[in-house]
């Protein structure tokens, strides 16, 4: 297989396979969660569910003071790499072009050097989370294989993207193919790991807020 063939496979059949697994996995899991159902709450409602749920979706984004003090590294590096990932994924021209081809519309991109800088920041933040995870005793105790796997699978596309852009070590078609394949790996692993939080996060937050709202307590 030549490098151009590899690239064509990654952009064609490889992407098809990854898309099917990713979409099917995510949809089935979300359906399962919703269809589990809840027992009817017979207690009298002491407040609104919807408004409190929606408010909690936003308020939980800001960490409270005690939590921040306790795990500041996790929160800061976590925020940085999430924002960095968002910018690199959704505001770089080639990525927008990809999304436009799939969903039918696009949006303006950021200049390449800006994306490049955010990629570096994201890589550093991701490394910081790993170092923190491995050096902090409690974190290390709580860490299981899935945590390391998801970290690696998230780290890989950023690094391969950075290398592909700067053409380090290999030829451009190979580097681009490797980058696309690393994203496909992420798509395949995604529905079966805690990476699902990208979809369930706001559902869970809303639910927490809604329960509290029903009971008439702060969330």
């Amino acid at each position: 297989m030549t490098e151009i063939e590899l690239l064509s496979w990654a952009r064609g059949p490889g992407l098809q396979i990854a898309t099917i697994i990713f979409v099917a996995g995510v949809v089935i899991r979300i359906f399962e969660i919703f269809l589990l159902g809840r027992k009817a709450n017979l207690a009298e409602a002491k407040g609104g569910e919807m408004s409190n749920g929606l408010r909690t979706m936003i308020t939980r984004t800001v960490p409270d003071r005690t939590t921040f003090k306790r795990s500041s590294v996790t929160i800061v590096s976590g925020y940085i790499f999430h924002i960095g990932l968002f910018i690199v994924c959704f505001l770089s021209a080639p990525h927008i072009l990809f999304l436009k081809d799939v969903i039918g519309f696009g949006w303006p991109s950021l200049p390449t050097p800006v994306i490049d800088a955010f990629a570096v920041v994201t890589i550093i933040a991701l490394l910081a989370t790993l170092v923190n995870r491995l050096t902090n005793k409690v974190m290390r105790y709580l860490t299981n294989f899935e945590d390391l796997l998801t970290w690696f699978i998230t780290f890989l596309p950023v690094v391969t993207g950075y290398i592909a852009f700067h053409r380090i070590g290999m030829t451009a078609p190979t580097l681009l193919a490797v980058h696309i394949l690393s994203v496909e790996l992420l798509m395949i692993i995604f529905p079966f790991t805690k990476l699902m939080h990208a979809f369930t996060l706001f559902i869970a937050r809303w639910y927490n807020g809604a329960i509290s709202g029903y009971r008439g307590v702060a969330s």
Binding site: I20, L35, G37, A93, T112, R167, A172
Partner: protein
């Protein structure tokens, strides 16, 4: 009149070249030594050689005996030859080429029929072990009858001609990687020269067609050093194929700034912005177009407003469409996603129903245990 000249390093060389050499041919065509040295300097800089190598190139070229070249054309469109002949007119590169003893070339030779084949056989016999074999076009393996010359299949002619060749230069993407005949579904079972010949040095000069100056540059390198140049991992001379179009593109700053032409006639296209979104394959294509350019250095496709199609890369024809940006999927992912959502929603509903049934069933068969029961 004989006039002594000296090289940069002080070595004296003769002003009048030996008879039968390339130097003599050049003089007879009225090429002055000054313009010849200029050509050597250009060649040296093109091949990224230090200036100290210029006299060596001049010396080697002047004294080179016209090597016999046999040019075989298989499944091709003659575009490579067309490209090369564009270098002819009164340019120096073309004189270099004329000064090679081109003993066999379908399109260019005067002889035809038996006489042509006889010329090839004679050249092969006389120069056995020393001639250069140039091949353009791919070789069909499915059925030898798909492409024959004088009743000889391409495969037979190639293997026979390769035996006595000092080196083989595969010219054009068809000869180097199969090219268009090799494109999906490859009806003739087309393969490249390298797929067949394993025991000879092969220089791949891909492109559809290759840049004329690159073809002559490779020949000049061979004449100068008597060896094949440094090749990359797919057999291309690194001097010409060492950098990607994207890295040397004069429109690169627009890519970096995020300024793209969205269509062929929008404001961006008129301002000469980057053609990435219009499917430019510059980032994954290694060739010298952006530096040596075409038509005597006039321009190259991107400069003319068209994205690079990646013609010097293997399988460029099957790369998912010339006008699809590199980061775009080559297949219809949206359709796949929609069908998958529909299928998965149905599957999710069924799984959800089964889960619910299981839950209801466990509620039904649940037996309450009292403290009295446990005391029993």
């Amino acid at each position: 009149m004989k006039k002594d000249l000296s090289l940069n390093d002080g070595t004296p060389i003769e002003g009048t070249p030996e008879p039968g050499t390339l130097g003599e041919t050049l003089r007879s065509q009225g090429v002055s030594r000054r313009s010849f040295m200029k050509f050597c300097a250009t060649t040296a800089s093109m091949m990224a050689l230090p200036p100290s190598m210029i006299p060596m190139i001049a010396h080697a070229l002047e004294n080179a005996r016209r090597p016999s070249v046999i040019w075989l054309s298989f499944q091709e469109c003659t575009g490579c030859t067309e490209s090369l002949t564009r270098a002819h007119s009164p340019t120096l590169e073309s004189l270099i080429f004329e000064s090679i003893s081109l003993d066999y070339h379908h399109t260019l030779q005067a002889a035809s029929g038996h006489a042509a084949e006889a010329a090839r056989e004679a050249a092969m016999e006389e120069n056995f072990g020393n001639y250069l074999l140039v091949v353009d076009g791919s070789i069909p393996l499915d059925n030898p009858g798909y492409s024959t010359i004088a009743g000889i299949s391409n495969l037979d002619m190639l293997t026979e001609s390769a035996k006595g060749a000092a080196a083989i230069i595969a010219v054009g993407t068809c000869a180097t990687y199969g090219g268009i005949p090799h494109a999906n579904p490859n009806p003739t079972g087309a393969v490249s020269v390298k797929d067949i010949i394993k025991d000879k040095p092969i220089i791949n000069v891909p492109g559809c067609p290759p840049i004329p100056v690159v073809i002559t540059g490779v020949l000049a390198h061979y004449l100068t050093f008597g060896a094949i140049p440094d090749l990359d991992h797919i057999g291309r001379p690194k001097v010409f194929y060492g950098q990607s179009i994207h890295d040397r593109c004069y429109r690169r700053p627009f890519y970096d700034k995020g300024q793209f032409a969205e269509t062929f006639d929008d404001e961006g296209a008129k301002k000469g912005w980057c053609l990435y979104k219009l499917g430019c394959k510059g980032p994954t294509t290694y060739n010298a177009c952006a530096t040596t350019k075409w038509n005597n250095g006039t321009s190259f496709p991107i400069e003319s407003g068209h994205p690079c199609i990646g013609c010097s890369e293997p399988d460029f024809w099957d790369g998912g469409g010339f006008y699809k940006a590199l980061s775009m999927p080559t297949e219809d992912i949206s359709k796949t996603a929609v069908y998958t959502v529909a299928g998965a929603a149905a599957a999710g509903a069924v799984i959800g129903a089964l889960n619910r049934g299981k839950k209801n069933n466990s509620d039904k068969i649940h037996i309450k245990t009292t403290i009295d029961d446990l005391r029993k």
